[in-house]
Symmetry: C2
Subunit: 364 residues, 2 copies
């Protein structure tokens, strides 16, 4: 079996602790013969800034570009609140997304059966919930130029961000959403603000055009503000939702929180297939952040990180069965009543990061 390469970027805060569990997992999988991963590690975010004044070094960018998949922890923390905008922790993540061309961000919002009670929503509204938010990740207001603050004198400044989308950017993300919906419920909601934004008008036009190649898909347009409402009101009406970078940021976070399983949710960011090899560049990261308040205590929940690794097995290495086994191991451990502090429930057994990691690996 050809060796597959992973590049691990633990980042800041609890990122290092949950990535340590991934290393245990890789070691286990390699030892069992299920995989043959070679991996390297780098710095991103605040720790990279501390080490060399940038949110990611050129050397680590090269390793990320060369790897079959990047496994990313989390970045940021109060320590770096005052660093210059260009080198803030998030800049490392944004550069990875942009330079690796990771335009398709897949954010499943699923409700683990064992955790349906933990949602702030009534149980019957979230039990069995399984939404996939497909967020455009390399365009829109995140990267459009001009993006600047101008001093106007008199103590006045003017700040500008630019939302830009070209047809091809919308078309390719729409097709990712449609392809994924074909493997699921064949229902896609496309969210924009076409009643206010020209990019929304184009978004809707291109999505509807692309949909013509997917006659089996039921496509529904929804305004982004209404999408936020409907997610709160009745999330199970959704199957796949495709939306732009900024709306996707907000709507996917709202959707994740609905499940009551935020510390549990993974994400995958994929590039276009290479025309020769068919391979996609990819980065996998948990939806949660670096949680500086609990960092270093060994109490962080590694499940979202493991679930992200499962997405890597599925999308980057075609190891679909192994991915499913890992996901099942996660559910099983939850059914057994093991909980990290963030998801603790009465009658369950509270465990730390490492014990949770071990328990999941033992189930495999």
């Amino acid at each position: 079996m050809a060796s597959n390469t992973l590049f691990l970027l633990p980042g800041d805060g609890i990122g290092t602790e949950i990535m340590a569990e991934v290393e245990k997992l890789i070691t286990h999988l390699n030892a069992s013969g299920a995989t043959d991963f070679a991996y390297d590690k780098g710095l991103v975010g605040g720790c990279a800034y501390d080490a060399h004044g940038a949110a990611i070094s050129e050397a680590d960018m090269e390793k990320a570009l060369a790897a079959d998949a990047v496994i990313f922890g989390a970045v940021g923390g109060p320590k770096w609140d005052a660093v210059p905008y260009e080198v803030r922790p998030e800049a490392g993540l944004l550069r990875l997304r942009k330079d690796l061309g990771l335009f398709a961000n897949l954010r499943p919002a699923i409700c683990y059966a064992a955790l349906a009670d933990a949602s702030s929503l009534k149980k019957e509204l979230v039990e069995g919930l399984d939404i996939l938010i497909v967020r455009e990740l390399t365009g829109g207001v995140y990267f459009g130029e001009p993006k600047e603050i101008t001093d106007l004198g008199n103590g006045q400044k003017r700040a500008v961000d630019t939302q830009v989308y070209e047809s091809y950017e919308i078309d390719r993300i729409a097709r990712v959403a449609f392809d994924l919906a074909m493997t699921r419920g064949k229902k896609v909601h496309s969210a924009d603000k076409k009643n206010v934004m020209k990019s929304g008008v184009l978004w809707d036009e291109v999505v509807k055009q692309a949909a013509k190649d997917y006659p089996e898909i039921a496509l529904t347009h929804i305004l982004a503000d209404n999408a936020a409402m409907q997610l709160v009101r009745n999330p199970k009406q959704f199957d796949v939702m495709v939306t732009d970078n900024l709306f996707g940021d907000i709507l996917s976070d709202a959707a994740a929180m609905l499940t009551g399983s935020l510390g549990m949710l993974p994400s995958a960011s994929l590039g276009a297939p290479d025309p020769e090899t068919g391979k996609r560049k990819a980065l996998y990261e948990p939806v949660h952040g670096s949680a500086p308040d609990i960092a270093g205590q060994g109490v962080a929940n590694p499940i979202a990180m493991f679930a992200s690794f499962a997405m890597a097995l599925r999308y980057s290495f075609g190891l679909v069965d192994l991915a499913t086994r890992l996901e099942t191991a996660i559910s099983d451990v939850l059914e057994d009543g093991l909980r990290t502090g963030d998801i603790m429930q009465t009658g369950c057994r509270k465990v730390g990061t490492s014990e949770m990691g071990d328990a999941i690996i033992a189930k495999l």
Copy 2:
């Protein structure tokens, strides 16, 4: 008493039905001597387009500019889905906001005690909820230029929207939020995406600067995506939230839906005080839309429209006691078990638009 002038813009769909109740209310208040309102009516949205090809006519714009307060119903419907972008129904509302300089949009998200069960959230999380979202309404991506779609040839187009904020725009909305918070819980969350947007960086800088004049206010910065999550997780942590036009659009809708009282929620849009008279231009509108699916059936819920009128009494006419009496009348009617179809609960009595309006007026 000098006569006060109102300009009523019922708009489309259920807008006309709920505005008819406002007319009854005005007649009652005038007859009782509590007020001395003179009012005129105009067209906005799809009906204005049908009548004269624009989402609002110049004549009606002039009346809106001259009135002490504009009372607005709702606009839009499938009938006008294909009209040109410049004259779509929403354009009338956006022009009113812009030309009247209504930069401060106040969106209370309160949970009516009688309706706490209707929320999709667990009752204990929303009972007694009282959030005020203060949304900037005349800037940001709604109005920034360039805002255009360019044909690039080869079937490719490029769409651009521009998010622009100048310091003074942020400063004045922050002060509105702080002033209102001083009359409430003195807690303000300011939401932006300063980790990605330069307008967010400026937003945060100016809000923090303005806060120096309000030493009693507890100001907390929150990223807009996290705000969406926290609204879902534990809305009662919020008192006042100040945010920009686009985030405000989405977050206020999510917050409104949390209460289970969406058909009940009002909003006020205020301009700057006139330097000579101290008067602010103002528009009051329900948060819900034109609900074309139930229009013309006499079943729409007039409560959000009445609650918006209460805000007009309070903010435009200083009739604070009367505003409170109207709000109490609304709660009382709900406690009595009267419900329109949208909020119907077992054991309650289902009534139509007109009966609900009469019942509230009778309570005054």
